[in-house]
Amino acid sequence: MDQLIEIMSRIRPDIDFMTATTLIDDDLLDSFDIIAIVGEVNHEFDVEINVNDLLPENFNSASALYELIKKLQEED
C-alpha cells in the first residue's frame, strides 16, 4: 500500500491519497493522471490493468485501487 501511495503521490503531489475517497467522482484526477497511474502500477506491481478495470469504484481511492491490484495479482 505504501508503494502505491508513493506512486500516486509522485504523479499528483498535491493530493493526499491517504484520505481521498472521491478521486474520480470529484474530478480530482484527470485523464492524464489515470494514464500515468495505470502505467506505473502495471510496471511496478507487474499486473495488467485493462480497460474493463477502469471504473470509478476502482479508482476513487488508493485503497480501492490497492484491492484491484491484489485481485489481479491473485488471478495470475
Binding site: I24, D25, S31, G39, N50, V51, P56
Partner: protein, 502 residues
C-alpha cells in the same frame, strides 16, 4: 439574411420546438425551452447593464446552463467570455484585468461565488422576458458585433482574448454544412471544454442543422470503457474532439471488446494526430468519416480540412487538406510574397470572414498578428499570420510542418523538429513524444511518454532506421506522462523550462 446566431435558435424553436436541443448527464432542454430561458437571461442582463458589445464572463461547468448563459448574453447584445473557475485565481484576475467584465454569471456550485460578485444562472433564468427590449437590441445588431471572446495563453505571459463575431461563427457553420452535410438527426458529443474554441463547433453546428448537443462529462475521459458506453447510450453521431481525447480511447484499446459505435463523423484537431491512434479508430469504427481539421482560434476554429481517404502508414503525416469555402488559406514567404510552388515551405496565412476581430483590449498584439496583406496595398485586406509552417504536397494538399519557431539549425543542417516528432510518434514503444532544441548544448532533446521504461536503446535504434543520423535526438528524457497544457496539447514551454533546471 441571417446576421445573428440567435436566428438559428429561433428557426429551430419554431420548426422543431419539442426536439431536445441540449443535453448533459442529468438534464436536457428542448428548443422551445432553450429559446425561452435564453431570452429571460438576455432580458435580465440588459436590464441590469444597459450596454452593448461589452464582455459578460461566465464561470462555466459541464452542464447545459453554460451554453444557455452564452446565448442569453448574446440576447442582451453583449458578448460572452467563458472562464474555467478551477483555474488559479491569479490567472482569472489577470484575465479580468484585461477584460473588465460588466457582469459574471456563475454556473454550477464550483463557481467562486464568494470571491467575485456573481449572478447565479438560476437567478438570471427566472427573469420575465421583455420582448420589446430584445427586439430593440436585435434591430441594432450587426453581424460584425462580437459574440464571444476566448482567452488563450500569450507568449508574454498575459492571456489574450480572441474576439470573434457573429459573422465568423455563421461563416464557420455554413462552411461545415457545405462540407459535411450534417443531418438534423445529428447528436454532437461535446468533449471540448467551453473555454476552448473547439466547443463552438458542437454548439453552433447543432444550432445550424437543428441537431442536439450532448455534453460528455469529464469523468468519462478517465474511464474510456464508460465513455464508449455513454456515447452509444446517448446515440452520439459526431465527435469533433481534440486529438488527445481520441488518443485516450485508442491507447486503452477501449473499442476492442465494446459493442460497435454508430458514428457518422470522427473529426479531430488541436495537434497532429498520430496515425497509429487514427488507425485504431478506423479499424474499430469503420463506418465513420474521419476528418483532420486545422486552424487556430484566431480564424474561428478551423480554416482547412482533410477527409481521410486512404489508410496511412504509421510514419506518414496526415494532410491538413484544403480550405473551407470562403476561407483563403495560403503560404507566405519571409518577404511577404505568396508561395504557389509545390513542396515549398511558408507561413500559413488566412483571410476571410473567419478572421477574429482581434484581441480584446490589446491593439498592439492585434496589429502584429492581423496584418494587411503585403501584396495588396491598395485596400484593407486583412490576413492572419498563424505562425505555423506548411507546404503543398504533390497532391496539392496542404501539409502542416511545425511552428515557425521550431525550426533549428543543428550541426549545419536545417532541421524541422516536427519531422523528428513524426518519426518518434510512429514507434510503437512510444506513446507520445515531442522534441525541443537545446541551443546551449547543441542537442536535440526528445521528451517522450511510454508504457515501459529503459527502452532508450531500442528507440534510438528505431530512429536511426527512419532518419539521417544528424536528425536523431541526442538526449531522451522519459516521462510517465508528458505535461499537458489546458488545451490538451503537450506543454512544450514546461518541457523547455525543465531543461534549464537540469
Amino acid at each position: 439574411m441571417i446576421h445573428n446566431v440567435l436566428q438559428l435558435l429561433e428557426k429551430n424553436a419554431i420548426s422543431d420546438p419539442e426536439k431536445i436541443a441540449l443535453r448533459d448527464e442529468n438534464d436536457s432542454v428542448t428548443y422551445r425551452e432553450y429559446h425561452e430561458y435564453t431570452r429571460r437571461i438576455g432580458t435580465y442582463i440588459a436590464h441590469r447593464c444597459n450596454c452593448r458589445n461589452k464582455p459578460v464572463a461566465v464561470f462555466i461547468d459541464r452542464t447545459i446552463h453554460s451554453i444557455m448563459s452564452f446565448m442569453g448574453i448574446a440576447y442582451s447584445g453583449n458578448f460572452y467570455v467563458p472562464i474555467d473557475p478551477t483555474m488559479p485565481k491569479d490567472r482569472i484576475d489577470l484575465i479580468f484585468g484585461t477584460l473588465n467584465p460588466v457582469m459574471i454569471i456563475a454556473c454550477g456550485t464550483n463557481a467562486l461565488t464568494e470571491e467575485y460578485d456573481t449572478v447565479p444562472f438560476t437567478e438570471a433564468a427566472e427573469a420575465k422576458i421583455d420582448e420589446l427590449l430584445l427586439k430593440t437590441i436585435r434591430e441594432d445588431s450587426l453581424d460584425v458585433d462580437p459574440l464571444y471572446s476566448i482567452f488563450t495563453s500569450g507568449s508574454t505571459g498575459v492571456p489574450k482574448g480572441v474576439l470573434t463575431s457573429h459573422r465568423s461563427v455563421l461563416d464557420l457553420v455554413g462552411a461545415f454544412q457545405d462540407a459535411f452535410s450534417f443531418p438534423k438527426e445529428s447528436v454532437f458529443g461535446n468533449q471540448a471544454p467551453f473555454d476552448f474554441d473547439g466547443s463552438n463547433k458542437d454548439i453552433y453546428n447543432a444550432l445550424n442543422c437543428g441537431g442536439t448537443v450532448q455534453i460528455v462529462p469529464k469523468k468519462y475521459f478517465k474511464m474510456p470503457k464508460l465513455l464508449v458506453d455513454f456515447l452509444r447510450d446517448r446515440k452520439v453521431t459526431s465527435l469533433i474532439w481534440v486529438v488527445s481525447a481520441l488518443r485516450i480511447v485508442a491507447d486503452f484499446q477501449a473499442l476492442d471488446e465494446a459493442e460497435p459505435l454508430n458514428l457518422e463523423n470522427v473529426m479531430f484537431s488541436g495537434e497532429v494526430m498520430p496515425v497509429k491512434s487514427l488507425n485504431y479508430w478506423m479499424e474499430h469504427v469503420p463506418g465513420a468519416r474521419y476528418v483532420n481539421l486545422y486552424g487556430p482560434t484566431e480564424i474561428t476554429c478551423n480554416c482547412s480540412y482533410y477527409v481521410v481517404e486512404r489508410r496511412y502508414a504509421n510514419d506518414e503525416t496526415l494532410p491538413i487538406g484544403k480550405a473551407f469555402r470562403n476561407s483563403r488559406v495560403f503560404l507566405m514567404n519571409e518577404q511577404g510574397q505568396k508561395i504557389t510552388e509545390k513542396n515549398q515551405m511558408g507561413e500559413i496565412c488566412v483571410a476571410g470572414s473567419c478572421l477574429a476581430l482581434g484581441y480584446w483590449n490589446a491593439p498592439e498584439v492585434t496589429s502584429r498578428a492581423f496584418i494587411n496583406d503585403p501584396m495588396v496595398p491598395e485596400y484593407s485586406a486583412r490576413i492572419y499570420k498563424t505562425g505555423d509552417l506548411g507546404f503543398y504536397n504533390d497532391r496539392n494538399e496542404l501539409m502542416f510542418v511545425s511552428r515557425k519557431d521550431n525550426q533549428v539549425k543543428h550541426m549545419g543542417h536545417r532541421i524541422e523538429l516536427g519531422e523528428i516528432e513524426v518519426a518518434l510518434n510512429s514507434i510503437d514503444l512510444i506513446t507520445i513524444a515531442c522534441c525541443v532544441y537545446d541551443k546551449e548544448h547543441e542537442k536535440i532533446v526528445c521528451f517522450y511518454q511510454s508504457k515501459e521504461a529503459d527502452q532508450e536503446r531500442q528507440i534510438a535504434l528505431e530512429m536511426m532506421k527512419k532518419l539521417p543520423k544528424y536528425m536523431c535526438p541526442n538526449v531522451y528524457i522519459r516521462y510517465d506522462r508528458l505535461p499537458m497544457n489546458k488545451n490538451g496539447k503537450i506543454d512544450r514551454v514546461k518541457l523547455k523550462e525543465s531543461l534549464k533546471e537540469q
